[in-house]
Subunit: 491 residues, 2 copies
Amino acid sequence: MSQDSPITPRATDYSQWYLDVISAAGLADYSPVKGAMVIRPHGYAMWEHMRDDLDRRFKDTGHVNAYFPLFIPVSFLSKEAEHVEGFAKECAVVTHHRLRAAKGGGVEPDPESKLEEPLVVRPTSETIIWHMYGQWIQSYRDLPILINQWANVVRWEMKTRLFLRTSEFLWQEGHTAHATSAEAMDEATKMLGVYTEFAREILALPVIPGVKSASERFAGALETFCIEAMMQNGWALQAGTSHFLGQNFAKAFDVTFQTQEGTREHVWATSWGVSTRLIGAVIMAHSDDTGLVLPPTIAPVQVVVTPIWKNDAEKADVMAFCEQVVAALKPTVRVKLDDRDMKPGAKYYEWERKGVPLRLEIGPRDVKQASVFAAARTGGKKEGMPLEGLAQAVRAKLDTIQGELYTRALANQQARTFRPETYAEMSAALDGGGFFLVPWHDDATAEQKIKDETRATIRCYPIDAQAEAQGRTCFYSGRPATHMAIFARAY
Amino acid sequence: MSQDSPITPRATDYSQWYLDVISAAGLADYSPVKGAMVIRPHGYAMWEHMRDDLDRRFKDTGHVNAYFPLFIPVSFLSKEAEHVEGFAKECAVVTHHRLRAAKGGGVEPDPESKLEEPLVVRPTSETIIWHMYGQWIQSYRDLPILINQWANVVRWEMKTRLFLRTSEFLWQEGHTAHATSAEAMDEATKMLGVYTEFAREILALPVIPGVKSASERFAGALETFCIEAMMQNGWALQAGTSHFLGQNFAKAFDVTFQTQEGTREHVWATSWGVSTRLIGAVIMAHSDDTGLVLPPTIAPVQVVVTPIWKNDAEKADVMAFCEQVVAALKPTVRVKLDDRDMKPGAKYYEWERKGVPLRLEIGPRDVKQASVFAAARTGGKKEGMPLEGLAQAVRAKLDTIQGELYTRALANQQARTFRPETYAEMSAALDGGGFFLVPWHDDATAEQKIKDETRATIRCYPIDAQAEAQGRTCFYSGRPATHMAIFARAY
């Protein structure tokens, strides 16, 4: 579809609606490389705001950034048995380092440039990083290492969806090294907390922090923590993960340290990450049939000012007033003046589809009253706001909109969280979407069977609900419950 | 060498000195992947400050960021004849998308996953971006497009040197599309100006803006502008380039637009970039035999506070005062309190090697006088600074240090810029380093001959010196001079 086409309503086709919203807002495009997307400026600016906020949170918790190579020797991947199992099937492999002219035109890989050892384009960086940590860590004095990396990664995907599942995506990956198991576990849960707060405060997503079942764990982790978000159709979306890796990578790369007592021990590890998939989560959680709806915190443009006039005399007055409004807002608000020579209605349509949280309409009558007419993207009655104290009123309104989005998403999540008594009850209800919170007896075979039968998976064992499992019986097997689990269909 | 080893003096071995400085400051490491480096936290933080400042300058001049795919179909590279010639010989080529278990252990590319068309890891992104611009540009209303991308790129290098020449590096690449030749040319020179100011103000590098000779142009450009910096050994380092691409890429990808008059024309283009090589330039331009010296603007730590005490009673007082000092500086200065239990001398040694511009020493006597003792990394007498007004005094001192670095680098550049009368005179002097500013008759054959004989290349035709060429004769051929040229040996 083109950027001007109408948006398919959610009720008609939720998947098409999602793609239409992205296109109408100019967030991303498919590229000529299978499964790889182009993140367009409006989408990338959302990512910049997320990145800046997260980066501040990482630094506030003692982390520093670094950069490790894109390429990983294939032999590194094999060193951790589960890790290679998890990633080998979806790797881009570099085998040559030169092109030559091909017969019949064009170019082809030069056979003489074949690499002795192929290189994998990083699907994640544990292996190359733990190789380097092996060189940097000698004693307890070198610990902890608290490094984060902002980078692109590649996982070859057959079925792709813009932002949610692409062959290349942008992310951050934290990789930390610790002297003790307890300290590594603390780090993994601390970062889960950072992600939870970030998702709630910045993305207006009421995520559920939890623990993954063994079969959903990261390849090489002893424990995977996650935050799960509910989309408007009731499906789940994993929005971030934090892994306790134990000593698996330290053992695979033989990374030991001298303890304070003089013994040598393997180092303990965590890794944690969120990606551009969060952009997809935000779109799906908040947008409507008109188009994109954005939390003000990450909106590239928070306020658009749209002048209205009928003739040149009016125009001069209105534009002068608009400039005053922009000057008042600029220091603390991301504001844009849309002075294009277009009908106001066409402008409203465009900015609504781009998800701008607040529109200030300014016509001759507003100029006379020294006020503006404010329309929130989330709806409700338009409000007059006087120029005096405007910045404060606008910021307060943006906070209100941010709060509304969170409240709506939370209401959706609560309304669609069910507690079925039986497996049959859940199976019958799954097509309608939702989170199904049930007492569960941990069993990978049963989990696989449920997935095969219903396409529902265990999204997590929600941390806050675990006490409930005590004394209850599994909704599937009738055995004593080991956990409370959330089942759902997921992106 | 290890991080504690002594640094080779510049006079003994300039190349080894450079590597020693990097190692002593913990800026980067070689990785197990040939030619690819690991940027360690202290080096990456320098990059973050450069990036943030540049990004602000780009946005202030109307640019927005976006992200394009890492992989480029090989057929794209062939579409612009000079471009493929320039980059095909140093490309990482992806040929498979899956690994399988190998006989005898390990993994290998799965032959069944061979790609129909190999992919190149971007050495630069003109081709993929102009493919996309072809989809986005229909009419003059879609122009200009002013997009920048922060990304990693790969150019397979046989001889590498940390930061200056690595197989993978980080950079930004601006790619703009315009309706007219004049507008594109304005953009290319505007960005040259942005780079020039950035290098001078932020990196304290007195770079020379100029134009490249035809043989040094970017592959696919009609004109390449550059900034050239002089290192302490008198060698040149290209610190940034801005290209006027004419309609070459628009023609290769058939990107046309409807003009206001209703005709169809090919779009005009520029591209421009700087990379992590700038970190190498900063190191080589400012550091000394003690180690790294950093302009305060990009120093990860601008001020280190080092407490000095002999007993616990002193320690309590000194530490309390240090906390006050840190609190006073924190809002406007990147300050670090080094409260480790180590001898002060060992701390000074470490922070000097890390290039921290200003050290504040605080002992019991300073506490009594409510002042600190400030030692600048650039040398000079230590100064007492009272706690009252400290932040202002420290910021002023950092500005002074920044100015000193620029002045020193400029003095070095001026002292080593020569105006030889003859080719023989230049040849004899080249081993001593320096810029050789000469009247020149443009001639690619002669240029190549000089390069073969002396390893000196034309770094640029400096913009400010071109008027001088009028009426003069070429120092090499005796023909009428077409330009003033700077010859030098270069990194």
